[in-house]
C-alpha cells in the first residue's frame, strides 16, 4: 500500500493517542463523523485544508500525517527485512517480517523501529569486519609469512626435542649442538610470536568499526558533506590528522579521489561554476562546454560544491565497468545501496551500455513517496598510459530533486527506478533479478 494511503491510519492513531472522540474531532474540523470514519479507514483520500485542519487539531505537522515515518527509518526497515536471512526451512513455517506493515510499525513504535535499524546496521558492520578479517587471514602476506615462520620454528623445536628425548645413543657433541639449536629456535619463536601479536593488535585497533577502505573514505567525505573547502585554494586536506582516515588503504583511496577533485577545482573555479549555474542552472553539459572539460568531470565538480540555498542538492554515483559502485553521495530519498548491486534501470547503468553517449532522464523512485529526480549520466574510458594497458571504463551519474528545478515534465517522460531489487516494489519490473522483500509475490500455479 502506498505510504500516502495510510494517512487515515495515522489520523486514527494520533486521535486515539490524544484520547479524542471521533465525533469531537470531526466536529472541530467541520465534517461529519461518518466521513472522518471513512478517512480513518483509508477509504477517502484527503489533502489540502482538511489535512492541515486535522493536523492542527491533533497537534502535529501535516507531513507527519501524510508521510508518516521518516524516510531513512523506512529505508532502514526495508533493508533490515531484505537482509534478515529468514527463509522457510524444511517446510517449517518461519515468521517473516510483515514488510507491508513496516510504516505502521515505524509510526506506532518509532523507538523500536529505530532500534531494529540500528541493530541491523551494527550486524552489517560486524559481518563486513568478519569478511575483511577472513580475507586478511587468507591473503595478508605479513600474516602468512609470520605464521609460516612460527610453524617452521615449532617444527624444528619438536624434532630436536624428540631427538633429545631419546638421547641414549647421542654423543655429547651432537647433544650440545641440538641444545644450542633449541635455544636459538626458542628465541626465534618468542620473537616471531611477539611480532605477530603486535601486528594483530594494530590491525584490531585500526579496523574496529569500518571494514572496507571505500566505506571509510565515504564516511570521511560524508562528515565533510562531500565538499572539501581546501581544494578551492589548491590545497590538500589533511587525510591522516584528527578526524582523518585511519587505514593506509583508505588514505591511498582518498588521495586518488582528492587529487582528481583538486585538479577539477583548479580547472573549474567555484566562482565561475556558480556564474554558469546562475545562467544555465545546474546543467553539467553547460558547465562542460563552458569550461572545456569532460562531462563526467563537470558532474563530479557540481556534486563537490558546498550546500547552498540557491541551487538544489546534488547526489553522485560512480561505478566501474563491472557495475560496482565506487563512489556514493546519497540524497534524501535516493540512497545508492551500501552493499550489493543497485537498480539496473539507473541511468548510470544505461550509460554504461553505451559509452560516450550522454544520458539524461527524469526518474522516480517507485517504492518511495512520489519523489522525482533529474539524472545525468555518462560512461567514459579512463585514459590508458600505454598502448598495452587494458581498457578501463567508469560511469558517472549526477542526480538532483526535480521539485527544486524549474522544469516541467510530462508523465510519459518519467522512468521508474528502484534502489535495489530486494527493497523495490516494482514487482513486474523486467530488470528484476531477485524477488522483492517489500511486497509479497503471488505463488505461481
Amino acid at each position: 500500500m502506498p505510504r500516502s494511503a495510510l494517512t487515515g491510519t495515522r489520523i486514527r492513531e494520533r486521535r486515539t493517542l490524544k484520547g479524542v472522540k471521533q465525533a469531537d474531532l470531526a466536529r472541530s474540523v467541520g465534517i461529519s463523523p461518518a466521513y472522518l470514519n471513512l478517512i480513518e479507514h483509508n477509504r477517502r483520500r484527503i489533502g489540502g485544508k482538511l489535512l492541515i485542519d486535522l493536523a492542527r487539531e491533533l497537534g502535529v505537522e501535516p507531513a507527519a500525517l501524510s508521510e508518516g515515518a521518516e524516510l531513512p527509518l523506512m529505508e532502514g526497515l526495508q533493508e533490515a527485512a531484505s537482509t534478515s536471512g529468514l527463509r522457510p526451512q524444511d517446510g517449517k513455517p518461519v515468521s517473516l517480517p510483515e514488510t507491508q506493515r513496516a510504516e505502521e510499525f515505524a509510526g506506532r513504535f518509532p523507538g523500536w523501529a529505530a532500534l531494529v535499524v540500528a541493530q541491523r546496521n551494527r550486524i552489517t558492520a560486524l559481518e563486513r569486519r568478519v569478511e575483511a578479517l577472513n580475507d586478511r587471514l587468507a591473503h595478508d602476506p605479513f600474516l602468512s609469512d609470520s605464521l609460516h615462520e612460527v610453524l617452521s620454528t615449532v617444527t624444528a623445536i619438536r624434532s630436536t626435542a624428540g631427538i633429545l628425548n631419546n638421547a641414549g645413543e647421542i654423543d655429547r657433541d651432537w647433544q650440545a649442538r641440538f641444545h644450542r639449536n633449541l635455544y636459538e629456535d626458542s628465541q626465534r619463536l618468542a620473537d616471531g610470536s611477539q611480532a605477530l601479536v603486535s601486528y594483530l593488535d594494530t590491525v584490531g585497533k585500526s579496523e574496529d568499526t569500518l571494514a572496507s577502505p571505500l566505506e571509510e573514505v565515504e564516511a570521511w567525505l560524508a562528515a565533510r558533506d562531500f565538499s572539501l573547502p581546501e581544494l578551492e585554494q589548491g590545497k590538500m586536506p589533511d587525510l591522516s590528522g584528527e578526524g582523518g582516515l585511519r587505514t593506509p588503504a583508505a588514505r591511498s583511496l582518498a588521495r586518488k579521489w582528492v587529487l582528481r577533485a583538486r585538479a577539477e577545482a583548479e580547472k573549474m573555479p567555484q566562482a565561475m561554476v556558480e556564474a554558469i549555474i546562475s545562467r544555465h542552472g545546474p546543467d553539467p553539459s553547460a558547465l562542460a562546454q563552458a569550461m572545456g572539460v569532460e562531462l563526467s568531470a563537470a558532474m563530479r565538480r557540481l556534486a563537490s560544491l558546498p550546500a547552498s540555498e540557491t541551487r538544489p542538492p546534488m547526489g553522485l554515483a560512480i561505478c566501474d565497468g563491472s557495475g560496482a559502485l565506487t563512489h556514493r553521495k546519497p540524497l534524501d530519498g535516493f540512497a545508492p545501496p551500501r552493499f550489493g548491486a543497485a537498480c539496473p534501470l539507473w541511468p548510470l547503468y544505461q550509460a554504461l551500455l553505451r559509452p560516450m553517449v550522454p544520458v539524461r532522464r527524469v526518474v522516480e523512485q517507485h517504492s518511495q513517496p512520489p519523489r522525482r529526480y533529474l539524472a545525468y549520466a555518462i560512461a567514459q574510458p579512463q585514459r590508458p598510459e600505454s598502448f598495452d594497458a587494458p581498457e578501463v571504463i567508469e560511469a558517472t551519474m549526477l542526480f538532483m530533486p526535480l521539485d527544486q528545478l524549474d522544469m516541467e515534465v510530462r508523465d510519459g517522460e518519467v522512468h521508474g527506478i528502484g534502489t535495489s531489487c530486494r527493497v523495490c516494489a516494482r514487482i513486474e519490473c523486467p530488470a528484476r533479478r531477485e524477488p522483492s522483500m517489500v511486497l509479497e509475490v503471488p505463488e505461481e500455479g
Partner: protein, 137 residues
C-alpha cells in the same frame, strides 16, 4: 639400509634434525635448499625418496613436484611433501600435483621415519616396474 634421501628444505635446524634422524636409521641424506635448482638436483642425485618442503626460495614445492612428474624418470619417484599449510585445498593441490605422501608441520619424528621407510619401497630405481610405461605415448 643404504638408501638415499634427498631433503629439499631451507630451514637449517629442521635440516639438521631430519638429517640426524634418518642418518641414525642408516639412510644417506643429501640436502638441497634452493627451489630453482631442485629439479636438476633430483635428476642428478636420483634419490630413493625425496622430502620436499612447500615454501622454498625461488620456486614452490608444488611447482617442483609438477615438473618432476612430467619427467619419465621421476614420474613415480616417492615424494614426501612437508608443509606448514595443512588446509584441505593445500592437500588437494599436492595430490593433484602427484604427491606420494603429504605431511603437515610440525610432525613427529617417528611418523616421518615410518613414512620414509614405506615410501622407499616404492622407489622406481629399487623396483624398475614402477616406472611409467611410456611406449604407449
Amino acid at each position: 639400509m643404504g638408501q638415499r634421501v634427498l631433503l629439499i628444505e631451507d630451514e637449517p635446524n629442521i635440516i639438521e634434525a631430519i638429517r640426524f634422524i634418518l642418518s641414525r636409521d642408516g639412510w644417506t641424506v643429501e640436502t638441497h635448499a634452493d627451489g630453482a635448482t631442485a629439479v636438476a638436483a633430483v635428476d642428478r642425485k636420483r634419490p630413493d625418496v625425496i622430502i620436499l618442503d612447500v615454501m622454498l626460495p625461488n620456486k614452490s614445492g608444488f611447482e617442483i613436484l609438477r615438473e618432476l612428474r612430467e619427467m619419465p624418470d621421476h614420474a613415480t619417484r616417492p615424494v614426501l611433501m612437508l608443509t606448514a599449510r595443512g588446509q584441505k585445498k593445500d592437500r588437494e593441490m599436492a595430490e593433484a600435483a602427484g604427491v606420494s605422501h603429504f605431511m603437515t608441520k610440525p610432525f613427529s619424528n617417528t611418523e616421518m621415519l615410518e613414512v620414509v621407510r614405506r615410501l622407499a619401497m616404492q622407489s622406481p630405481d629399487l623396483h624398475p616396474d614402477n616406472s611409467p610405461d611410456t611406449s604407449h605415448g
